[in-house]
């Protein structure tokens, strides 16, 4: 199954889980699958219109995909990484 890697700032809804295996054929389906298990997670990735927040970056196996490329296909063993734009300051 594909794996969704959740960065520390977004682990509130997942209660500290950092790597979650899900069933899904696209990036969107995988993120939705995490959102179904963990209420509140989806809102961290998508705005009310369903678009990926401007401060979120998505990677598949280390390669960044565009915020609108949610239909990018994924296979078993693929890693979807979410990068949160967090700096101090």
């Amino acid at each position: 199954m594909p794996q969704v890697c959740v960065p520390p700032p977004y682990q509130g809804p997942t209660r500290g889980l950092a790597e979650i295996e899900v069933r899904g054929k696209t990036v969107r389906e995988c993120i939705d699958a995490v959102g179904s298990r963990f209420p509140g997670f989806r809102d961290q990735i998508f705005d009310p219109e369903g678009k990926v927040h401007g401060f979120v970056q998505l990677f598949v196996n280390g390669d960044e995909i565009g915020r609108s490329a949610l239909d990018t296909p994924v296979d078993a063993g693929d890693r979807i990484e979410i990068l949160a734009a967090i700096a101090g300051g």
Binding site: P8, P9, Y10, Q11, G12, P13, T14, R15, G16, L17, D43, Q44, H53, G54, F55, Q57, F59, E64, L83, A84, A85, I86, A87, G88, G89
Partner: protein, 576 residues
């Protein structure tokens, strides 16, 4: 062995206005910045002294790697006993002074004493020949920008400045120490803890450092050091880290708001309805029409997270407008416009004030009912009153606790006398453990952990590890936004001095820095009672989950017991 040799240190006695230059002890060579400051303060400064008296020691210590070709490594630590917290304090800044001092081979400046006449002003001039104290009465009362403009005309174009504004001269406990950037703007501040007041108490208006176009410091293993620099820079700029910082810390506003750590109206809420108008994205959008943009605050910086903000007419207004400032002087005061916050930021830089402490103080004043939340013009008037020395201005300039006492207001979000920064301990419990146990008081740069889902049994470990990594980062000269880890820092150290620096050594250095600082505070009279969150953090619930600070004191104090070092300690990134 090898690497930089013949390093020196400068001792300044402001009672007699005399300077001595001494060899820098070889056994201290891996101590710089915060760790060096802590070591010297514990050994030479009476922790029970009056922070604004002659016995306090003001430390100016660049990091170990400052002045070398290591990327983004020129930060300078300012240290001393804090008049704000009553404990040890280190605050660091970018800009040029750290690089320039180290290129000249000066590892630290130590300033003690106090002039007999408190109305006199002095300056310290530093070059390769040594240093001397000169009169600076002509600059008394100067605001920081006017001061640096005047000094730019007085000194050569290879000179950088460390200065204080009127707040420091008035010895207000929210006063900062400014460091000039590449354009000689006094925009980089060692802001927290009132060290500007310590500098002011010594009659020292500015330090001028002429680097005389000295080259970078030469490492012992030159080839390996340069290879490491190139590889590290390539990895940083090509990897996922840099995009996070390329728009500056102001870009964090929407994420922080989402995570309930963008405090609103003196922290009664964790989110602000004004997040969109305070979002750093608005600043980025302004660049096209007004000019300004992102820049590096010091020579050799690859992060370039500092924004230059212009006004509507295209004229320079301020730099850098950071996330913490947008939060404390913006959202936390109910002020919705980033442009108003830019005005307030400029005023704080001019007067030489910590924007976090000042924003928290103004919010408390507003919360007390003395002023409406959102009154940006009123906030600007108050800042101008600080320079005029009015009773209200002085109370605001003395920070959150001072204005809380003056207004008798109950909601004063501070730990160890220092205002809590934007990152909120209620959703971020491990960060709260840092605020309670850090020798610095509430300081996100002491060990920030942005993980609201971290299980309770990991809070102490996360805080302790972050405090250790950040202590070493703040001793190295590296900027926390470069996000170096301990393994990387010890590699740089090893190539600089031509000898292996082990994990055990770097871990011990981290712990020793904290231990020195805790010991200083213990001798200053700090007890377990000082490790607590204020009642408002325990009572004012925020967010849909209604989170409060509910961590037991017993758990918090576990952070004082050194845990066995995990592999992760050496590979986790500094973050602040």
């Amino acid at each position: 062995m090898g690497g930089p040799t013949d390093d020196r240190m400068i001792r300044v006695d402001m009672t007699k206005q005399v300077v001595t230059v001494e060899p820098f002890p070889d056994e201290w060579k891996l101590l710089g910045g915060r760790a060096l400051s802590a070591h010297i303060l514990l050994g030479e400064c009476d922790p029970t002294c009056d922070p604004l008296g002659p016995d306090n020691l003001l430390v100016m210590a660049p990091g170990v790697l400052a002045g070398t070709s290591a990327p983004t490594s020129g930060r300078i630590s300012i240290g001393g006993k804090s008049p704000l917290t009553g404990g040890i304090k280190e605050a660091n800044a970018g800009g040029e002074p750290g690089q320039d001092l180290m290129k000249l081979g000066y590892r630290v400046i130590l300033v003690k004493g106090r002039p007999a006449d408190p109305d006199r002003r002095y300056a310290l001039e530093v070059n390769s020949e040594g240093a001397r104290v000169v009169g600076a009465d002509d600059y008394k009362g100067y605001w920081n920008y006017a001061l640096c403009e005047a000094l730019a005309k007085k000194y050569s174009d290879t000179t950088s400045f460390i200065s204080i504004g009127p707040a420091g001269e008035m010895q207000l406990t929210g006063a900062s120490v400014a460091c000039s950037d590449e354009k000689l703007r006094p925009a980089r501040h060692a802001a927290r803890g009132g060290l500007g007041a310590v500098m002011g108490s010594k009659g020292l208006k500015y330090v001028a450092i002429d680097n005389e176009k000295r080259p970078v410091r030469q490492p012992a293993r030159k080839k390996e050091f340069n290879t490491l620099c190139k590889a590290y820079s390539k990895d940083y700029l090509g990897g996922p880290k840099w995009p996070v910082f390329k728009n500056g810390t102001a870009a964090v506003v929407p994420v922080a708001n989402m995570l309930q750590t963008f405090p609103y109206k003196n922290r009664v809420e964790g989110q602000s309805p004004d997040a969109k108008t305070l979002d750093g994205a608005r600043i980025i959008e302004s660049f096209e029409e007004r000019g300004g943009g992102m820049h590096n605050c010091m020579t050799g910086c690859i992060v370039r997270c500092s924004n230059i903000v212009h006004d509507a007419e295209g004229n320079y207004k301020t730099s850098a407008l950071e996330f913490e400032t947008l939060t404390l002087l913006g959202s936390n005061c109910g002020i919705a416009s980033w442009e108003d916050v830019a005005d307030l930021d400029r005023l704080c830089d001019e007067l030489g004030l910590d924007t976090i402490e000042t924003g928290a103080a103004i919010a408390i004043y507003m919360d007390s009912g003395a002023m409406e939340f959102g009154d940006a013009e009123g906030a600007k008037r108050i800042l101008k009153e600080i320079a005029e020395g009015t009773e209200l201005g002085v109370a605001i300039g003395n920070g959150a606790v001072a204005i809380g006492k003056k207004t008798k207001h109950h909601r004063v979000p501070a730990v160890k006398g220092q205002a809590i920064p934007a990152w909120d301990p209620r959703p971020l419990k491990a960060t709260g453990v840092t605020y309670c146990t850090s020798p610095m008081g509430a300081d996100h740069t002491a060990g920030l952990i942005v993980n609201p889902g971290l299980p309770e049994d990991q809070w102490v470990q996360a805080s302790q590890e972050a405090q250790m990594v950040n202590a070493v980062c703040d001793s190295s000269g590296f900027c926390q936004f470069l996000q170096p880890n301990l393994d990387e820092i010890r590699q740089f150290y090893g190539h600089l001095y031509g000898e292996e620096v082990t994990r055990e050594q770097i871990g011990d250095q981290a712990w020793q820095c904290l231990a020195d600082e805790w010991e200083f505070n213990r001798r200053a009279g700090f007890t377990e009672k000082d490790d607590s969150m204020p009642d408002c953090m325990k009572q004012d619930a925020i967010g849909p989950a209604k989170v409060v600070w509910d961590v037991s004191p017993d758990l918090v104090r576990q952070a004082y017991e050194r845990l066995e070092a995990r592999e992760e300690l050496f590979t986790m990134k500094a973050t602040g």
